[in-house]
């Protein structure tokens, strides 16, 4: 630690912040290009693709709104990193950690990991498999596009909150600097960031805009899952495998039969003469059925 440059980690933080933002935006643009190409390929498939193509307009609008806000956020990042030049400690691991703390992307992977969970639950077939049975596959694709769109809309609300939090944080630091008040430690600075960011995030989560976009994301995730199921059922029927609907039906029947069985057992027990008090029951049955044992 003796060779440590006290300002290095904040520079690294600023660098990570800017690079992270650029990488995120670049990956978004790459994804949009990829999708546009796939949509063109889909459109060549016939009338069924028309609806899918039309659905991308909403997605494009959501992407544009998010992109504009992201540009604004990276401006904030650049401004902050410039101001931090020459006033920072060093250690690559710590710098990376601090970088993550201030990275706006963390607000999507951290607080917004609901989206991640939803997507994980919903995602099934890969895009490259989608173009064999056009109508069903396009329904899945439409639902996939809708989920991305809703996720972007929700991310836009979150990114707006991040920008406000960063602004409030910078304002607070400026206020202290004007009064010649130094923050004694990085811990104090982080505490200030956490408090500022937490308040903004919690306020945002209670906003109508956040709740609405969350709900739309949940709905889109559900729609995608159901569209995938319809496709899976098509193939299940084709190859003679049980479908999800059939399995659900079987499970329902089993649940009802077990319910009846439990009721019958209760009735039988109620009709039986009372067992002697405090005598531990000794009978045992197979696993999955009612069973009593003694320790």
């Amino acid at each position: 630690m003796a060779e440590m440059d006290p300002f290095e980690s904040m520079r690294t933080l600023a660098s990570l912040w800017g690079e992270g933002g650029n990488a995120f935006l670049t990956s978004q643009q790459g994804m949009f290009r990829d999708m546009a190409e796939k949509m063109r390929a889909a459109s060549e498939g016939g009338a069924a693709a028309q609806g899918a193509a039309a659905d991308t307009a909403g997605f494009e609008a959501a992407r544009r709104a998010f992109g504009e806000l992201w540009s604004s956020a990276t401006e904030v990042s650049a401004s902050l990193s410039k101001a931090m030049q020459g006033s920072s400690p060093s250690d690559p691991l710590v710098a990376e950690m601090l970088g993550k703390i201030f990275d706006p992307k963390a607000w999507f992977s951290g607080t917004n990991d609901l989206d991640e969970a939803l997507q994980k639950m919903a995602e099934g077939p890969r895009l490259s498999d989608l173009w064999n049975v056009e109508r069903k596959f396009l329904a899945v694709f439409n639902a996939w596009v809708a989920l991305r769109r809703r996720t972007l809309e929700n991310n836009t609300v979150t990114l707006d909150a991040w920008t406000r939090a960063a602004g409030a944080f910078a304002k607070e630091l400026n206020g202290r600097a004007e009064k010649a008040e130094k923050l004694d430690s990085w811990r104090e600075m982080l505490a200030l960031w956490v408090e500022t960011a937490n308040t903004t995030l919690l306020e945002t989560q209670r906003s109508e805009a956040f709740l609405k976009t969350q709900r739309e994301t949940l709905k889109a995730s559900t729609d995608l899952r159901l569209a995938q199921r319809e496709l899976a059922e098509y193939y299940s029927e084709m190859f003679g495998y049980p479908t999800r609907a059939e399995l659900d039906d079987v499970h329902k029947t089993v649940t009802e039969l077990r319910r009846e069985l439990r009721a019958l057992k209760r009735e039988r027990r109620a009709e039986a003469p009372a067992a002697p008090a405090a005598r531990p029951a000794a009978r045992k049955r197979r696993s999955g059925k009612r069973q009593e044992a003694t320790p």
């Binding site: 630690m1 440590m4 006290p6 410039k82 101001a83 931090m84 030049q85 020459g86 006033s87 920072s88 060093s90 250690d91 710590v94 963390a106 607000w107 951290g110 607080t111 917004n112 609901l114 969970a117 939803l118 639950m121 630091l173 400026n174 202290r176 600097a177 004007e178 130094k182 923050l183 004694d184 430690s185 990085w186 956490v194 960011a197 937490n198 308040t199 919690l202 306020e203 989560q205 209670r206 709740l211 709900r215 949940l218 709905k219 899952r225 159901l226 659900d248 499970h251 329902k252 319910r259 439990r262 008090a277 029951a281 999955g288 059925k289 009612r290 069973q291 009593e292 044992a293 003694t294």
Partner: protein, 370 residues
């Protein structure tokens, strides 16, 4: 418009020292991480024995740690969100051990691991069949008519429903962090508190139906994500800053890991029961109005005649205190006691501040009602 922060806001010397400390912690933590074995982070280790089973549901009896002082056995009823192991997280943070040491004869019901095959199970099944079956099994073992119940969170709701539908079999009822008025969060709007109530109300009943249709359950990871949203910055920080804080202290680090282990063990919630939980209770708030129907019967709170101890956490952001306290005045007994404890939803069970208070408070209240 954002203002760029002033460059000289940090004291460089102090920052240097802190960074050096962090580096040392990381090094010590990495060494500690390499030494930890699975058994070091085992949870729910208090010895117990299986005494009854029905389908996936198992009833256990804990082995005594002291002479019995509370005669009526007590059944711990956890919910389907999370697992009962939270009540026995580790040896020095365990409601179970605290109660056993105070002479309580203790049972716990384990709902098992519901899968998509259990989609059609309802709260009716859990209350009228499984919980009723467990109570009957305990009663038979002891040759008694009534058992005391200790409900936790959703398990507290199950307990409340059971006590209203089967009052003749309940000796005493202890509720902990249990929602009764699911719209009670509106009474005292604290930032970050009651988000699940608000979030669930932002959905339509159809959204919930389709969610369950699509997944068959309320997936455990989904509920985990919703809980994470309630403490956004903490969720972001816990695997870097929070963990770093405790990395060089083996005891604290193991505590951290045990809690993470409990959080990761989140079973799926059976689908039809989840619909009732989210629509009938969170959205339509039927329980507090005595309009919730199980097994064709209304759950009338005034039918609860057993003495009630209602324990809530003053800083519970998941079940705000007002949602629990709504039980006051709605039950059919005058023997109603509230116990407000410091801490949050989980902290009240595992936090240092409430460790002694929760177990002793419950044991003493039970001892006064033998």
């Amino acid at each position: 418009m954002t203002h760029a922060p002033a460059a000289a806001a940090i004291n460089p010397g102090e920052a240097m020292r802190e960074i050096s400390d962090l580096g040392k912690r990381l090094a010590e933590g990495a060494k500690l991480f390499g030494e930890i074995k699975d058994e070091d982070v085992a949870i729910a280790t208090t010895p117990k024995d299986e005494v009854w089973r029905e389908d996936k549901v198992t009833l256990y009896r804990y082995r005594p740690l002291a002479e019995t002082k509370v005669n009526t056995p007590v059944l711990i009823v956890y919910g389907l969100i999370g697992r009962y192991t939270m009540a026995d997280l580790q040896e020095d943070r365990s409601l179970v051990r605290n109660l056993l040491r105070l002479g309580v004869d203790l049972y716990v019901i384990d709902w098992g691991n519901p899968s998509r095959a259990d989609r059609w199970l309802t709260i009716d099944d859990y209350v009228d069949d499984y919980l009723a079956g467990a109570v009957a099994a305990i009663s038979r073992r002891h040759g008694i008519d009534r058992v005391s119940l200790l409900g936790i969170c959703e398990g507290g709701v199950f307990t409340t429903c059971y006590a209203a539908l089967h009052p003749d079999t309940v000796k005493n009822m202890v509720l902990t962090i249990t929602p009764i008025d699911f719209h009670g969060d509106k009474e005292q709007e604290r930032l970050g508190h009651g988000f699940i109530n608000l979030w669930t109300r932002s959905l339509t009943p159809e959204d919930i139906d389709r969610l369950i249709e699509a997944h068959g359950t309320l997936p455990g990871e989904f509920m985990g994500s919703v809980f994470s949203m309630m403490t956004p910055m903490r969720t972001m920080m816990k695997y870097n800053l929070d963990m770093l804080e405790v990395m060089d202290d083996k005891k604290k680090f193991l505590n951290f890991l045990r809690m993470e282990k409990w959080i990761a063990d989140r079973p799926h919630h059976p689908g039809e029961a989840a619909k009732q939980w989210l629509k009938d209770l969170y959205q339509d708030n039927k329980l507090v109005r005595s309009e919730f129907v199980l097994g064709g019967r209304k759950v009338e709170l005034k039918n609860i005649t057993a003495p009630v101890l209602n324990v809530f956490a003053k800083d519970d952001h998941i079940i705000p205190p007002a949602t629990s306290q709504a039980l006051r005045g709605k039950i059919g007994t005058g023997d109603y006691t509230e116990l407000a404890l410091p801490g949050g939803h989980v902290g009240v069970f595992v936090g240092g501040k409430s460790q002694g208070l929760l177990g002793s408070g419950i044991a003493q209240w039970l001892a006064e009602r033998p």
